[in-house]
């Protein structure tokens, strides 16, 4: 085994308590990142499912000219974000209402005429269902003078997108804050390791070891600490996820890329933090 790697592993043997504490602290910090990641992922999944059901319904005036309606249907169909436009006549609307709302059968029977308007049901292409895109199409459709009203669930759509933005921002901000904490912990651990081995380092320099050779074991130590901290965070995140899933909420576990990202985040943090600490503190020896 090369000297640098052997020394990096020896550091864990020499100070197991310090190494365990560093890994535990990094694990706890990255746990927060992991939990927010699960929250963000699940909110995203909910939004995706809701998005799949997003459609625009344009209610038409009874006085609408059939030729105008046909022309408008073709024009709307040509819009880039639109997947399909279905014309629902007043009679079809009543039939649908009777099927979908059987509890109002008596009411429907007692009615003299048909109170329901005809409508266009506009479905959208995947990826074209953001609040802005939906609103833009709704506004465009509303411009036809025979369109009486346009509904697309604007209230809840706005709220769900706001929730998504807040969850995303919270993940980034808190993730960055806790990642910084993890980096500071690794930096402090490396500083202690450098201090504990200052005699060795000064002798290495005395006999002609290059700076990169002196640095390498500490960089590897930081990297290994970061990876172990990331793995510990994953275990903690999974345990918390199982507890929440079994008792409170129906949650989905994050995809493999996200798991790899946490491990990568741990190792990158470890690498950067130890590089900064080594650069700063080796000069003091």
């Amino acid at each position: 085994m090369p000297y640098s790697l052997r020394e990096a592993f020896n550091a864990f043997r020499r100070s197991p308590m310090l190494a365990s504490l560093s890994i535990a602290m990094i694990g706890m910090s990255l746990l927060v990142v992991g939990l927010f990641g699960i929250a963000a992922y699940n909110i995203r999944r909910v939004i995706e499912r809701m998005e799949a059901r997003v459609e625009i319904v344009a209610y038409l005036r009874d006085s609408a000219n059939p030729n105008d309606l046909q022309r408008a249907q073709q024009e709307i169909q040509k819009l880039e974000a639109v997947r399909g436009v279905t014309y629902i006549s007043r009679e079809q609307a009543l039939d649908i209402a009777r099927k979908e709302l059987p509890e109002f059968q008596t009411l429907f029977g007692a009615m003299d005429g048909n109170p329901l308007p005809a409508s266009f049901e506009i479905s959208l292409r995947p990826g074209q269902k953001s609040a802005e895109a939906v609103r833009a199409i709704a506004q465009q459709v509303a411009r036809y003078e025979f369109v009486e009203d346009v509904r697309y669930g604007n209230d809840w759509l706005d709220k769900i997108y706001l929730l998504r933005r807040v969850a995303g921002a919270a993940t980034v901000i808190l993730g960055a804050a806790f990642a910084l904490v993890a980096a500071l912990i690794i930096g402090a651990a490396i500083r202690i390791a450098i201090f504990a081995r200052r005699d060795e380092i000064s002798i290495m320099r005395l006999v002609g070891a290059t700076d990169s050779f002196v640095r390498r074991p500490f960089l590897l130590e930081g990297l290994i600490t970061g990876v172990c901290g990331g793995a510990f965070a994953l275990i903690l995140t999974y345990v918390t996820f199982r507890l929440l899933s079994n008792s409170l909420l129906q949650l989905e576990w994050v995809p493999l890329e996200w798991v790899v990202s946490i491990l990568a985040l741990g190792s990158v943090l470890g690498g950067i933090a130890s590089a900064v600490a080594v650069r700063r503190h080796l000069q003091e020896i």
Binding site: Y3, I203, M204, L206, V207, G208, A209, T210, D211
Partner: protein, 225 residues
């Protein structure tokens, strides 16, 4: 081998550690560096080792100049310089053999080379029987022998000895001195900083440079000329 040209070294807080120091040490030469504590002997050795740079003037060691030497070159230069100290500076948790091996290991030597060389060096300093002893199990003189062996690990062109006998009794002092003389006899230049004038007096014909308040006040080589 070593050349100081009008070297000045200022302390960080002001004041001069060395003032207009000029001298040369040739290949295979043995040279005492004498003077009271704080005279500037250790500063001169640190400048040769490129652990410090002159404030003015130039230090040249084995072709490397203090002006513009790069960090990596310093590491390479140090492999040509052995250094021993009054306080030995051994790793307390490693055996005598491991202390010597460490110097080779951290400069990338392979295991076979390390094993052969460590055995040879321990024999050279008379400690073959104590290869596995920890520094705490060795006498002061023996610890200094380990330090000398470590300094010789890279077959240096020059050996810097900074008060190497300062912590030793008379018998150990002479043992170390004889060892360093024998190293010099095999071609390694030696700069031996000491304020033990007894050693100097009992080495007639050996070059002596005396430093006082950062200036060279006596150089037997110059006197001879």
């Amino acid at each position: 081998m070593i050349r100081f040209s009008h070297v000045y070294k200022e302390y960080a807080r002001g004041g001069l550690a060395l003032e207009d120091v000029t001298f040369e040490v040739k290949k295979s030469e043995f040279c005492f560096l004498t003077g009271h504590s704080g005279a500037g002997k250790s500063t001169m050795l640190r400048l040769i080792h490129m652990a410090d740079r002159p404030s003015r003037g130039e230090v040249r060691v084995s072709g490397y100049s203090s002006e513009g030497i790069r960090q990596r070159e310093i590491a390479l230069l140090r492999r040509k310089i052995g250094y021993v100290f009054q306080d030995f500076r051994l790793l307390q948790d490693r055996s005598a053999a491991a202390n010597i091996a460490f110097a080779l290991e951290v400069t990338g030597a392979n295991r076979a080379v390390i094993r052969t060389k460590v055995g040879r060096l321990l024999a050279q300093v008379g400690l073959a029987a104590k290869a596995e002893a920890l520094p705490s199990e060795l006498s002061g003189g023996e610890q200094q022998r380990v330090a000398v062996a470590r300094a010789l690990a890279h077959d240096p062109l020059v050996l810097l000895a900074d008060e190497p006998t300062g912590n030793l009794d008379e018998r150990a002092t002479w043992g170390i001195y004889e060892l360093i003389r024998s190293i010099n006899a095999s071609g390694t230049a030696v700069l031996f900083a000491t304020h033990n004038m007894d050693l100097v007096r009992r080495s007639p014909g050996t070059r002596v440079i005396e430093v006082d308040h950062g200036r060279i006040v006596f150089d037997s080589a110059a006197e001879a000329l």
